[in-house]
Symmetry: C2
DNA sequence: TTTTCATATGAGACCGGTCTCAATTGTGGA
DNA sequence: TCCACAATTGAGACCGGTCTCATATGAAAA
């Protein structure tokens, strides 16, 4: 039932026998350690070739304690943001001969815990995590191997972290909106809130989400806009309910004249909803979104975006983690990458 | 230098000692095999809990020969097509408690070979590959573990394969174009050709690319369009040269009145190039592309696409592979998933 | 020539699990 | 009362590598 073929793999001992040397000697040349004479080395190599020897990385990892792979836990690989970041990570990893085991958390803490447990059991040398919640991080604290955080910071966790300047980016984007005269500005995010928001930013469990909202609120405050907190809409992902929520928002009497979207997936849904409602961008409503996704430059009008260096984000965490793996013991670094705003045509003056 | 902490992990023996039973007995309850009395089981479990025992999956894999992970080699995770497929794969894998080790080939055979070698050395239980070339498959033939092919078929390789009906899809798309009166139709693909094309489809090393081109040519032939082969343009990825190539194509006297694009990345570049040249869709040029990417529905006009069941593609291969892992020994299956064409607004009548 | 020491090799323990096999115990049937 | 047999447990081999330690060899130093 479960004995497919029992692939009788060639082992060091087999090679040693073939080359008429001891297992230890064969292992030395095959493993590339210790010291062996040229004669013997050639013989062993020849035997290995003849037998088509392939090292068993698992066995090697067993004794060395080092598996040569890192685990990456992201919210959703399907999201272009993450897939690009993963690309950055795996490019760097490959350069160091390390490979990547990928896991999706679906932004769910339990799934995240589970993924980490499995990855750790597989003896990954290090972990890169995009923590789903900053409120529940006990499982992250007790991780024994090097850990690095991607895109989301955790103040209580002193580990290498790479994020973007979310707050400042949101602030600048909001300013563009307020300077165009907008006063009814909505912030729309896919993140869900456990419990009520009521303006308490500390209740927001994801640093990225919190920072952006703080920047947004600050931007509103600068323009003397009151009650910006009430214009923050959570849970606007790609679901039915989210769609209904957007429709309601766009059709209400208090319809915002400008929207700041927290990611490109949300923005795409918003864009569609706006069109369905017969509203025009930017005449009826202005739109800015985080992430310079493919589609934002080809719509009519093209969308003004906050361009995050996503690939670099992945590249940087991977570099930080790998440096750590190599024994670097500098204090944890928190890198904040700058963002730029690409102004396109989706922001217009407010009618009001 | 490389002794970070030497994490003194708790082993079965430790638990056994704590529970005052033999290593074998502790292993039985911890590993969930054999037969143990309730009393002893409870004691061992208690000891394990007290010591915070975590199994070492690597060691387990060593003896069982089964690693509980599969390797996936795709062209480029950054491409939405692949990231969605990978999502499908990993969702299925997770359900079976299997995890996924991801590798990028960058559509390069050497990189692919290397990735497979590494994955195999890591003792993956099975492999899912999107072969970069159908001409060089020796390395695939000699794979000893279960192998499944994603998106691209290899006639010479009798393994589980899931593809879409590329040829028929291309044929139907071409018909839409010819029925609209178009006669100068171009097919644009990112694939590169080693050597000259000159109409010899057998020279095309990727089944997907070949099938699509065959469908395209058949569609042209049906409409009595001669020399369709000359209107096939290779190497149109996201590079500088590709951009120049597109510009040249769009500005030539022989400018096509309709284009069929082989994937959404190519189509996006085309879309941009078309706009840069001041051409209008669909008045000046019609466009259809493979893959219902995000952006295709939000452009003005929205783009007619060949919708491939990408998530299902990933889901299916994963299911096939996992079934195989469980000991299924039915003859290899070749599943061809149907595509549908989503007609939007990017096809207009030919001016000619 | 004898001592010294670096180099080359072999023997075997070890990593942390799984699994085979034998020993021990308890129970129902003859 | 005695025995076959099932259930439970322990001892130890094994997986395929790495690595320590002891030994052997040969050249350089005394």
């Amino acid at each position: 039932m479960k004995r497919p073929s029992k692939a009788p793999s060639v082992t060091v001992s087999d090679v040693a026998r073939e080359a008429k040397v001891s297992k230890a000697t064969a292992a030395r040349v095959l493993g590339g350690y210790g010291t062996v004479s040229e004669m013997v080395r050639a013989a062993v190599l020849e035997a290995a070739r003849a037998l088509d020897y392939r090292p068993n990385e698992l066995a090697r990892s067993m004794t060395t304690g080092r598996s040569g792979s890192i685990g990456v836990v992201v919210g959703d690989i399907e999201n272009p943001f993450f897939s690009l970041a993963v690309r950055g990570i795996s490019d760097v990893a490959r350069l160091s001969g390390i490979n990547v085991i990928l896991a999706n958390s679906g932004e769910d803490v339990e799934a995240e815990k589970n993924a980490i447990r499995v990855l750790l059991a597989k003896q990954v040398d290090g972990l890169i995590v995009t923590p789903a919640q900053s409120s529940e991080i006990a499982h992250l604290k007790e991780i024994a191997c090097p850990l690095a955080l991607l895109d989301r910071a955790l103040p209580e966790l002193a580990v290498d972290t790479v994020t973007v300047d979310d707050r400042n980016a949101a602030l600048r984007a909001t300013r563009i909106l307020t300077e165009a005269g907008h006063r009814r500005i909505a912030y729309v995010t896919a993140a869900v809130l456990s419990g009520d928001f009521r303006g308490a930013a500390s209740r927001i469990n994801t640093s990225t989400v919190r920072e952006r909202i703080l920047g947004f609120i600050e931007g509103c405050r600068e323009a003397d806009i009151e009650g910006a907190e009430r214009n923050i809409h959570f849970g606007s992902g790609r679901s039915e309910s989210a769609h209904a929520l957007m429709q309601r928002l766009l059709k209400s009497a208090e319809r915002p004249t400008a929207i700041l979207a927290s990611d490109s997936v949300v923005a795409l849904e918003l864009f569609k909803a706006i069109r369905e409602c017969g509203l025009r961008i930017p005449q009826d409503i202005s739109l800015i979104t985080f992430h310079d996704a493919d589609w934002t430059s080809v719509t009519t009008p093209p969308i003004t975006v906050i361009d995050q260096p996503v690939y670099a984000l992945g590249k940087s965490v991977a570099e930080l983690l790998i440096r750590r793996l190599k024994g670097d013991d500098r204090p944890p670094e928190r890198i904040v990458l700058p963002t730029t705003i690409i102004e396109r045509m989706s922001v217009g003056p407010s009618e009001a």
